[in-house]
Amino acid sequence: MTENVITTKDLVKTYQMGDIQVHALRGLSLEIKRGEVVAIVGPSGSGKSTLMNILGCLDRPSSGEYRLDHVPVAGMADDQLAEIRNRKVGFIFQSFNLLSRATALSNVELPLRYAGNIAGRRQIAEQALAAVGLEQRIDHKPYELSGGQQQRVAIARALVNDPAIIIADEPTGNLDSKVGQEIMDLLMSLNREKGVTLIIVTHDPKVAARAGRIIRIIDGVVEAAQ
């Protein structure tokens, strides 16, 4: 039995929007094991974005416990969370979110820069780009790359710090289905070969179907785990 990389217990997140209190999460508990591929699905407003932000340490829960890679992160300060994000979380976004001014290599290097002075940063970034099949394109800027290639750069960027989890938010949402398929193939092979834990937030049933497990969120709680 492999260990849990993510454990949450009774996560609650409440927003104040004007006069109304929005209960985005109402006591959500889940566990994700190292090396798993998990799809988080659910209708809009179900709280899955909130869950993703908390799992990615972008946001803090109002109450509840969250252990990421054995570290309790629920009560951490901003800068501590930044460090956790930097070392333990890789993000893949729907709209890639690459820096348009910078080359593919600089984009991939970015998390390493915030990690401090890591020797051989360039080599590490080059290896990450090679792992996604872009070793020929390291000096290209995002606008010189196709959508699929841009998302590969983003995946390399997510991999480069060797994170405990990778969170992908609709990774194929901006791509046509063929390229989306390739990106999913890449993610799955990274999971197989490097044992990367993948959390995919998606609407797309075809994407969700490739995950080892689907977690369905409805009204701020896990509806059914399969």
Binding site: L58, D59, A82, R85, N86, F91, F93, L99, A102, Y114
Partner: protein, 409 residues
Amino acid sequence: MNLTQILFEALESLNSNKMRSGLTILGIIIGVAAVIAMLAVGSGAQNEITGSINDFGTNLLFIFSGNEQVEVRNPRPLTLKDAEAIGDPFFAPSVGLAAPSINGKHIVTAGGKETSVAVNGITASYAPVRNEVVGEGEFISEAHVFERASVAVIGPETAEALFGRQTGLLGETIRIEGQPFRIIGVLEAKGGTMMGSQDDRILIPLSTAQSRLEQRDTIDTVDVIFIQAVSSEAVLQASEEVAQVLRTRHRTAIGMDDFTIYTQDDFLSTAESITGILTIFLGGIAAISLLVGGIGIMNIMLVSVIERTREIGLRKALGARKNDILIQFLAESSLLSLLGGFIGILLGWALSFLIEKISIAMGSPFYPSITLDSVLLATIFSLVVGLFFGIYPSNRAASLQPVEALRYE
């Protein structure tokens, strides 16, 4: 991230929006250029005035009647006898020469041309005391004073105004208040000064001025006594001796001197404090434009923060701490203003050069001088402006919450 990287990224980001960066630093460029040029004009004026005061003469003291510090009743005027006593080495050994002078402004005509000129009645010792050099002809002699001769030594500008030339004037006649005077010499040019031209005046024997031009109640009265000390070290000693002589002669009460003695240094320090104020004033006005430039930077940085909200969100998601973002934006704003500062210094230098050329072309040469101080001041000031006006926008960027920043469209 290390410093080189930070600066490189800041440069890259400024470079990616050249037009906007250029327009932003324009405010700083103009501000710094104005500061540099105005300070150069100020210190140029200072040099000019200091120079012209030194042109007055060497080891010079000036004695005037009256006292500005203490209210003295019925101050006695200075007289020729006073001047003689002061010039006596027995009473005042530190005094080399004493040159009394009476001054007036009179209408002078020659060959149908008319001008209003300062006319100084002087003695032969005036020339060495005041560093006067005659270019053509001779200076006024003891004999001229003794004879009350109707002779005149005229300044080059006066000559130009009356005759249209500065040479071949010996023996020509000019009329001062209608009375004829024969020209016996023309002074060499001393150059224009900020305090009025020393080249536009007429020198005549003191005795002639007393009897023919100036209506005075006591015939002996003089306006100023110029004194040359025997050496520069003796200036203060001379001042003390002169005061002693005048106190005895005027029978003044203790602390109630009815005369004032200025040394050249007094004039220099007065002039320097005036030009100092001028420089601060000019620099202050220029500094306001630098301030406005700084506000321009803040404005653009705020826009830039809003525009790059998503980028900030992404950087935070990838692990940027608050300080990383803060430093990134501060680096950009200080780089902007520092760059503007450097270009502004060059422009300010060009501007001072232009002022010099224009003043020469207009016939009254003026030499602005750029000092290292003003360059350092402008550099540091522009950097501080960039940092100060960068703090607010940078702090705003650094305080963005990653979730909201990433969601921003």
